[in-house]
């Protein structure tokens, strides 16, 4: 359970200069190890390169310097087999119904139609979408649509699930419920989860370990172990240590956020 599944060593991302501007150092150097089967969260001030970090691990973009490995193999601008991503934006395919959306996650897999249907049905049930299998995304609420995207990702049975602020567009109540769902999925699938979020309580509630990133260029400035049992849900917020974890996160993050705000005001 504790072997490193993802390793980042000296990873830096510099975006080339736009016309007339200077190159933007978005991230790093950063070193992170994500253990197999853990729930790992990243928090950081706006614009610190959290999403860039996720895209690097997903193989959607290549690092300028450094190395990233997934299960011992380098990731280079190709999404490795066994990695699934859920984005913050609505990524439902509006022209397909819920079942077709979910089955899409299996299109590239070399499995027969019956097995595809069976796996899609199982995931649709697991995500509480059974009554909406024939509905189109336009007929669903924001939370339901995000469930469809999560279902499309987990149906392929990824060993690593990357979540880029997946509940960012949802209301607080739905966020808490979705958090519970994610914990349940995490336990049932046994996959590693890498969560990017700006919500400290969300990170503190869900994760085994939390990395706090600095203001741009994002670096890992703190690593917090929550010590939660694997069998947990949102009621964990009632524990005393939850407040202590959130306070520690906020203390570190507050200084970094002030830096970002200071930079913004001096630049204005």
């Amino acid at each position: 359970m504790s072997a490193a599944q993802v390793t980042l060593r000296g990873v830096t991302k510099i975006f080339p200069a736009a016309a007339g501007g200077e190159p933007v150092r978005a991230l790093g150097p950063i070193d992170i190890e994500i253990r197999r089967g853990e729930f790992f969260a990243v928090v950081g001030p706006s614009g610190c390169g959290k999403s860039t970090l996720l895209e690097l691990i997903a193989g959607l973009t290549a690092p300028t310097q450094g190395e990233i490995e997934f299960e011992g193999r380098p990731i280079k601008e190709n999404v490795p087999d066994g990695v699934g991503v859920v984005f913050q934006e609505d990524a439902c395919f509006t022209w397909l119904n819920v079942r077709e959306n979910v089955e899409f996650g299996l299109r590239q897999k070399n499995i027969g139609p019956e097995e595809k249907a069976r796996r899609a049905t199982a995931v649709i049930d697991m995500m509480g979408l059974r009554d909406f299998a024939r509905s189109y995304p336009a007929q669903l609420s924001g939370g339901m649509r995000q469930r469809v995207c999560i279902a499309r990702t987990i149906v392929a049975e990824p060993r690593l699930i990357l979540l880029d602020e997946p509940f960012g567009a949802l209301d607080q109540q739905t966020r808490l419920l979705m958090g519970d769902e994610m914990l349940r999925l995490w336990r049932e699938t046994g996959a590693t989860i890498f969560l990017i979020t700006h919500a400290l309580d969300e990170a503190a509630m869900l994760a085994d370990r939390i990395v706090v990133m600095s203001a741009r260029p994002g670096k890992a400035i703190d690593l917090v172990e929550t010590g939660w049992p694997r069998d947990r849900d949102s009621r964990i917020v009632e524990r005393e240590s939850f407040g202590a974890i959130t306070s520690r996160l906020w203390k570190t993050l507050r200084e970094e956020s002030m830096k970002t705000m200071g930079r913004a005001s001096s630049g204005a």
């Binding site: 991503v85 984005f87 990524a91 996650g105």
Partner: protein
Amino acid sequence: MNKVRLYQFAVIAGFILLLEALCLAGVIDKITMTPPHIIVRDFVRMILAGRYFGEIGKSLANVLLAFASAYVVGVVTGTILHGYKTARDILDPLFATYYAIPVFAFYPLFIVIFGLGDGPQVLIGFLLAVVAVIVTTLNGLDRVPLVLKKSARVNGLSPLQTALRITLPYCAPSLLTAAKLALAYAFIGVIGSEFIMARSGMGYEISYAYTNFDNATMYPLILLILLLSIAANSLLSHWEAVLLARRGQK
């Protein structure tokens, strides 16, 4: 029938009744135009007698050929161009000024090259339609959210699979708009060419009837073209409305 539909129907019916009245009162003389009810009567007679079916079939086949070739070439070209920014930047001024070029002016040249057969007519229809399809396809593809393209990569799709399974299905409403434009331009191109220099086809027959003051042929043929064009356009519009409704965009 809702209110808007009722008013739309009333406007068209009112226009036809006005024409009827003007024709019957002699304000529009008989040589210029026959009253609408006579046009309808002649139209029904023409259809029942099967007159001009060969001409109609030939014109429609050419329209269909011009439409289908322009549509396929346009969508494929638009999709490829969308991936090559430099090529698109080079061609953009051509697309922007394309409809300032009088394609019909090249008709004599096409006849010299391709002869007096159907080739030049289909080519004119194709040339009129193809750029509208390319531009509409490009506009549709521009609106595909980045997150869908990322989803394609996460699902391991190749560029061709991404186009066929994600980006083109996403912009299906734009592609239907492109089809409507292409069909209209194909009709204009083919029927228009037949007017000018062809020896057969609906456009030629209308032109021939016009020269011979044969209103009993000319107006029913014009009515037929109108009905066919409107029917095809309505079908595509209906399909577009179904797609948009399913996506919650209407």
